[in-house]
């Protein structure tokens, strides 16, 4: 991004905030409706390094809400996402891994990150990540999401702090099994996750 290396013209505080974000390393598990949108928000926030993991390919049904384009259908989400993020900021530092995150590889993939964003699809995987991350990477903030489907009020999507290290975004109940997905509501949840990440990296822990 042109202004990444430009002198910060605001106050000293701006320079400190910028430096904190630019030195941070954030992991994103899943590059679907949440993760692909969180990723571009964090690139625009000039986070230092993003560690991006997904196992899937871009499907036509993803294009109604995920950060991909029609000519990317069939491609690995990791590669397509990286390509799109580099169009925003050619200097973005991105580490991509094409795999499914499991209880066996989570700690290794996300060793040395400052913060993890859970952005996977199934309830089983969410529960696994919440459990394993807390055990394997204690003290690393985890921002999860639950309940973002449907056309219920966008105002029902909030960020809660569940424990010292776990924040939860969503309305907690709107399941994809009986609700359609809309870019507007999914992206509200993604923005909550990305913004909580920025706040935590700046030392603010309350939602």
């Amino acid at each position: 991004m042109p202004y990444r290396d430009a002198p910060v013209t605001g106050s000293d505080e701006d320079a400190v905030l910028h430096k904190r974000l630019a030195s941070a390393r954030v992991g994103i598990i899943g590059l679907g409706g949440l993760g692909s949108n969180v990723a571009w928000m964090l690139v625009r926030a000039e986070i230092g390094t993003l560690v991006l993991v997904d196992f899937d390919t871009v499907d036509p049904s993803n294009l109604n809400r995920q950060f991909y384009f029609a000519d990317q259908v069939g491609r690995l989400k990791t590669e397509a996402c990286m390509e799109n993020l580099l169009r925003i900021d050619p200097n973005a530092d991105l580490v991509v891994t094409n795999t499914r995150v499991t209880e066996n590889n989570l700690a290794e993939i996300f060793a040395n990150v400052d913060l993890i964003i859970e952005a996977v699809d199934t309830a089983q995987d969410k529960a696994m990540i919440l459990s394993v991350a807390g055990e394997a990477l204690p003290g690393v903030p985890l921002i999860s999401a639950s309940g973002l489907a449907g056309y219920g009020s966008a105002n029902d999507i909030v960020t809660r702090r569940l424990t010292d290290d776990v924040w939860m975004v969503g309305d907690l109940v709107s399941d994809t099994s009986d609700h359609p997905l809309f870019a507007s509501r999914v992206t509200v949840a993604a923005a909550h996750q990305a913004h909580m990440a920025v706040r935590i990296l700046l030392g603010l822990t309350e939602p």
Binding site: A119, V120, L130, G134, E135, A145, L162, V173, D175, L181
Partner: protein
């Protein structure tokens, strides 16, 4: 012994009746358990559905065989699909 129980989201209907010490409007209750009770025993006694859930004891992840102690805070969260 007494344990503070919190059930989130779709699990709140499984909360026991509030005791005198509880505020019935919250998602937390104080429950009385025998010494040595495990997380799994509490889950069974509450009749929670067999769906994905995350268990925290005092803010740290705990397994079903985790043994509870007096004053612990047990929180159970059921994630739902969508990402």
């Amino acid at each position: 012994m007494h344990v503070r129980l919190a059930l989130f989201a779709t699990l709140t209907p499984y909360l026991p009746e509030p005791s005198e010490a509880d505020e019935s409007t919250t998602h937390e209750r104080t429950i009385d358990l025998p010494d040595g009770a495990t997380v799994g025993q509490v889950i069974s006694s509450l009749g929670l559905p067999d769906e994905p859930r995350v268990v925290f004891v005092n803010g740290r992840h705990a397994d079903d065989d985790g043994i509870l102690a007096d004053g612990d805070r047990l929180a159970i969260f059921p994630p739902v699909a969508g990402g």
